[in-house]
Symmetry: C2
Subunit: 295 residues, 2 copies
């Protein structure tokens, strides 16, 4: 299994997910921008602005070249050439009852032979629907359990810790799974690690299409839309202040429009928003914390 | 001149600016929140949502206590007790022809006797009006020149460097002045440094009221409003990714709603926005760079 095999699989995954999302949206089509990186490699950025997916990005990239110093320091690596490939997705739905979703699957290798996989999926409902939260974590647990019993508990906690808006003391959403530096530790083979990442990638479209299908035509009031715009503000705060992937891209002169496709199309910030006791907004806030056992 | 004298002057400045802005807006009134800091001190956060100032914050604070470790490291100080006081302002106007403005004036001292002033004013027009840009820098130059001939050139360049959205390779707006650690260097007295900071503070209201008065009733089209919402996105990107004051506040458990009052009420992010050659949007972008001699 070469790095090209892995990149090819990710490229096909992008195709497959885009096709599924176009079907789910029913109207929107992905617009593609091909880009190249001066130092080596490039990507396919695909953006949809549809009837139900208000703004969504499904990006593939495969880049290589001398390891930038900032990455070398951040990842504590020796100098050398690197190769990195992956698929990154963020979808902002129009309907506030449909959750925001994010997925990333990636592979990294160094010229000295080091390699690892990373990634994750997390869900950010504007209003937490507990049945959907349980379903989401249930699917992720099933995917993880097929590969190793330690995966779900470990990667679920990792997501709780990673997708945390520290200055708001709340999680970004209901979490999911997050993992990084999955290599040959504990006797895993590269094939086994890749098989797991493939399962995560393949789980994405069915998970999201279900949430989209169940909620995309559900009626909502202006106050629900308003709450969605405010929650999108928290999404921006997480991505610009805390998300390591975003910081990394901005620090290392990545393609800005591909990195920031994750930002929502329309966002509000009001001063000192308060929610009424017993409201569905208050209920949602009460569930934006670490350590909830959804699965 | 004690630190309480300085805090009192800043408190009065907040009162004076709020009164002026209420008159300029004609409708909106400031809402005040008093807050206290567990370790010592507190502040008065004042927010206006008016007819012409869509969202504005004018904050005063005076805080003290043991120096938090993060600040000690960032400012390269010895441990001890600190005192900090200042006024911070960000105004987001409704009309896209009115610029966004920011001002900060502040005083810091340590228990070992170290003290300094810092601050600045910078202007972020959604559309750069060159007459207004020249007027703005002209006023700042006059204010600076009354105190020292080196101030304007030095602090203007500092603002160009500071208010820079590095990942977009553009300045936040047309700059202004920025200064920090103004202490007893070069024979300045504390009274002289404070007198300069007072002049900056007093310059704020007349500067902004003129821009507000001249433009608040000017007609605009939906595409101008759209551009304003997109430019506000860049403002958010600067504040959350690059602004040291914001990072500091978030890192050190400051009062979040007071820190993030700087974020605009309504913001858009579109994918890969392109402007037409020769358009006023393109003209504005061409002026968002360092080193323009406006004064």
């Amino acid at each position: 299994m070469t790095r090209e095999d892995i990149a090819d699989w990710f490229r096909d995954l992008q195709d497959d997910i885009c096709q599924n999302l176009e079907q789910g949206d029913g109207v929107g089509k992905f617009h593609q921008d091909l880009w190249e990186r001066t130092e080596g490699g490039g990507g396919r950025t695909r953006i949809i602005q549809g009837a139900h997916i208000e703004k969504g990005g499904v990006n593939f990239s495969a880049v290589h070249g001398p390891l930038p110093e900032k990455i070398r320091n951040a990842l504590k690596l020796d100098s050398g050439a690197f190769f990195a490939t992956g698929v990154s997705i963020v979808l902002h739905p129009k309907n506030p009852w449909v959750p925001i979703i994010h997925m990333n699957v990636r592979y990294f290798e160094m010229s000295d032979g080091k390699w690892w996989f990373g990634g994750g999926i997390d869900l950010t409902p504007h209003y937490v629907n507990e049945d959907e939260a349980r379903h989401f974590h249930g699917v992720l647990k099933t995917v993880c359990d097929q590969h190793h019993a330690s995966y779900y508990p470990e990667f679920k906690q990792w997501a709780d810790d990673y997708f945390y808006v520290k200055h708001r003391k709340e999680t970004r959403g209901i979490g999911g799974i997050f993992f990084d530096r999955l290599s040959a530790q504990d006797g895993f083979t590269k094939e086994q690690r890749f098989a797991f990442v493939q399962s995560v990638g393949k789980a994405f479209a069915p998970i999201y299409l279900r949430f989209l299908e169940d909620n995309k035509n559900r009626a909502y009031e202006p106050q629900h839309k308003k709450w969605q715009l405010l929650r999108r503000g928290r999404y921006v705060e997480f991505n610009l202040v805390w998300d390591k992937g975003t910081k990394f891209g901005l620090d290392t002169d990545g393609r800005i429009e591909s990195i920031l496709m994750s930002l929502p199309p329309e966002v509000n910030w009001d001063y000192n928003v308060q929610v009424a006791d017993g409201s569905s907004e208050a209920h949602t806030l009460s569930l934006l914390k670490k350590g909830i056992n959804w699965a």
